[in-house]
Structures are given as C-alpha cells and as structure tokens.
C-alpha cells in the first residue's frame, strides 16, 4: 500500500514554555505535515509553534528500562522540595 507516513505533532502554545505532544497525523512530507497540523490541531487557535517528526524517527525508552534510567533520582529523595518542610512564617520559598 502506498500509505502516507505517520508524523508526531508537537505544539507550543502562545504562552507555553515547551512543545507538547498533541497527537499524530498522516502527510506525504514534513511541509504538508505542518500544514495539516495547523488545520487539525490548532483549529481553535491553540498553538503557535509546530514541530513535526516522522514517527519512525522517534526513539523511545522501553518500559523495562524505566528502572535503570530513573532509579538513581528516585533514591535521592532530598532532591524533591517536599522533603524540606518550611516553617509557615517563611514566605516565597
């Protein structure tokens, strides 16, 4: 079958800080993917900056790897702000 490739779409909204994955769509190439993304994922003016990546170009972690990659951070619990309760009187911290 002569299928249009699948693209993953990332959009950063007007006041957003980072591009968010919003979904996927089919397009024959990157330029059309961007045009389609604008039509499909920003129909309600939701986005300003659009990134498109061919789904086949994405490398992801495998679930079994979760342990090795994230374990060290989990064990360093003092990295989380909630580990240090602050006295109520101290503001803005």
């Amino acid at each position: 079958m002569n299928e249009w490739p699948l693209w993953e779409i990332f959009i950063r909204s007007q006041h957003g800080l980072a591009h968010k994955h919003v979904g996927s769509l089919h397009a024959p190439d990157a330029e059309m993917a961007i045009k389609n993304a604008r039509d499909v994922y920003t129909r309600r003016n939701e986005g300003v900056s659009i990134w498109v990546v061919k789904s086949s170009e994405i490398t992801a972690t495998a679930p079994s790897e979760k342990q090795a990659l994230f374990e060290p951070a989990n064990s360093k619990v003092y990295r989380h702000p909630t580990f240090f309760p602050m006295p109520e009187e101290v503001k803005h911290i």
Binding site: N2, W4, G23, S24, H26, P28, A60, A62, P63
Partner: protein, 336 residues
C-alpha cells in the same frame, strides 16, 4: 457502543491468581488505574480488542460525517451552515485522533480503513439511518451526540493511555455538539406549526435507534465482563441507556415534544423512567448490514477513498521527487 460485535476472545473471566505473572502485573496496573502505554506488555486479546474498539469508534466518527454532511448545502441559515460545518469538521478530527490512538497498537490507518470498506469492521449502528429533514440534524446533535458524550466521558478514564487522552480531547470539543442540536430543536419547537411537527417527526424516528446505540442488553453482552475487567468499558450498556433516558426525557418535556413510547413513565419508587421494549431485531439487522443506509454509507466512503487514490499517490510521488532533488541539489531545494 463501539464494541458492537467485538470479540474479546476471552471465554471466561479469570482472577489474578489464575493469571500468568506478566498478565497479573498488567491487570494489577489496570486495577490501580495506572495507564497502559503503547510499549507496555499487554495481553494479545487486550491489544486486539482495543484495536477493534478504537477503530470502530473512529469509523463511527467518519461515517457519522455523512448523515450530517448531507444537510450542509441545505442548512437554512448562514449561521446554521457555519455551525454544522464546524461540527462535522470536529467529527473528522475526532476520527483522526482515534485512528492515531489505534495506530499506537501496531496497526496502520490504511489497514483499518480497508477493514471498514470490506465490511469486516463495524461502526455505530445509528449512522445507518437517513437524515430526512433539517430537524433530523437537531435530533442527531441532541440525542446521538448526547448518547455519545454519555459513553465518552467515562472512557476518559479507560486503561489505555492514548485512547483515554484521545477521549479527553474529544470530550472538550463535544459539548458544543449536543448544545447545537438542542438549540435547533428549541428553535423548531418555538416556530411554526410545520416546524414543530418536523421536530416531533424527527424525534419519532431517532428515539429508538438512539437507545439501540448503547448496544444489546447486558445479559446478552457476552464480552462486556472482560472489557470491564480491562477497564476499556467503564459502564454497562443498560446503565448508560437508563442514564440517557433519565436525562433526556425532561429535555423533551421542555421542548414540548414526546418520545414515541407509550410505556415511558417516571417510576417514583426506582427513581428512573420505565420504558417500553426495544426491538432488538432491528438492531441486529442494522448491525448485520440491513439498515436503511448501510449500503449507501459504505459505498460513499469506498468511492471517496478510491477516487482519492490518485491524489494521495501524487502527493507521495511529489514528496519523493523533491527529496531526491534535495539529495542531489541542496541549494535548489532550499529555494522553496
């Protein structure tokens, strides 16, 4: 609702103890409401059932564009035309989100579309009914979208991540659909006698098929229990159907039109509406392909697909040519 004739492949429900270790871990995650994501281990039956359910949901959105699209060129005011176009466009978008969710399970959209066109995959029975008057457009928004919302909101909590996220996106856009339908009915019911009769006539034709949308009675839904355990079916058919009736009858009272059911009556003791028997033969026939519009709906979709093949092929051919040109002449390719 979209799982009509979806075979989960499970003969009977098993307890955690009866499951092999991998499956037990999977079921525990589901029970704990931790989302299952595309690369996670999952039972093959879960994967297959989800593909079928999500794709049938997607097919329903796409086929659902046809009965409503039927009235875009005849919408009776510019405002209604714009609203209807936007609604049908939303449905296309919903179909797209759902196909995308299904594709995370290792199947391509083209394969799914081929299954629809061959008749192997189903879509919601309701879209096999014709839209004969403008009031039908109101009835569809009010009743059919109302039923769909009822089914979709619980699915926002379903176990499969991409499906639940697609549902969240869909639900955000869906609330206007039901309101626009009700607004049409309200305008008609407050209009001329002919318009009010048009509204009543639409309710007469769409009420029972809307109730059938929720699927067969629980007792006859062989695969519901497994789907419930997998948390891809959150509420039972009968439960959803009853909620829908309870919510909708007062709306009809407000409009001043009546459901075509002489046995429909508020039951003070149960706190629900009693209602008359549903003609299940009609549902089974429609699902089998004998509804008023099954053949036309499918032919229309197949024709659009086949007549569009040269367009899709051309777009691919151009993309390939341009990529080839860029490889040999980078400067020229950047001009555009």
């Amino acid at each position: 609702m979209y799982a009509q004739m979806v075979d989960t492949g499970a003969k009977k429900l098993r307890s955690l103890e009866e499951m092999p270790p991998e499956e037990r871990a999977f079921q525990q995650r589901v029970d704990a409401e931790v989302k299952i994501e595309p690369k996670d281990w999952m039972p093959e039956a879960y994967r297959k059932t989800l593909i079928r359910q999500i794709s049938q949901h997607a097919h329903s959105e796409i086929v659902g564009m046809l009965p409503e699209g039927n009235w875009i060129t005849r919408a009776p005011s510019l405002k209604r035309k714009a609203i209807l176009m936007a609604k049908v466009q939303d449905e296309a978008g919903h179909g797209l989100y759902l196909y995308a969710a299904a594709e995370t399970l290792g199947v391509s959209r083209d394969q799914l579309v081929a299954e629809l066109h061959s008749g192997k995959a189903k879509y919601s029975s309701i879209f096999n009914y014709p839209t004969l008057t403008w009031a039908d457009i109101g009835a569809i928004g009010w009743l059919v979208d109302g039923a769909a919302i009822m089914n979709q909101i619980p699915l926002c909590r379903c176990s499969y991540g991409p499906y639940s996220r697609a549902m969240i996106r869909v639900c955000k856009e869906e609330s206007f659909h039901q309101r626009q339908g009700f607004d049409i009915m309200l305008t008609l019911c407050r209009g001329t006698p002919e318009q009010k009769a048009m509204a009543q006539d639409a309710l007469d034709r769409w009420w029972w098929p809307s109730l059938m949308m929720f699927g067969p009675p629980d007792a006859e839904s062989v695969h519901s229990a497994q789907s419930a355990q997998w948390k891809i079916k959150i509420l039972s058919n009968d439960e959803l159907r009853q909620r829908f009736i309870d919510q909708t009858v007062p709306q009809a009272d407000y409009l001043g039109i009546k459901m075509p059911d002489p046995l429909l009556k508020w039951n003070e003791a149960s706190g629900h509406y009693d209602f008359g028997p549903i003609d299940w033969d009609e549902l089974y026939n429609v699902v089998k392909g004998n509804g008023p519009c099954n053949r036309d709906r499918l032919r229309t979709r197949v024709r659009a697909w086949e007549e569009g093949a040269w367009v899709r092929d051309a777009a691919l051919a151009y993309a390939e040519k341009r990529a080839a040109r860029a490889a040999t002449q980078p400067a020229a390719a950047m001009r555009r």
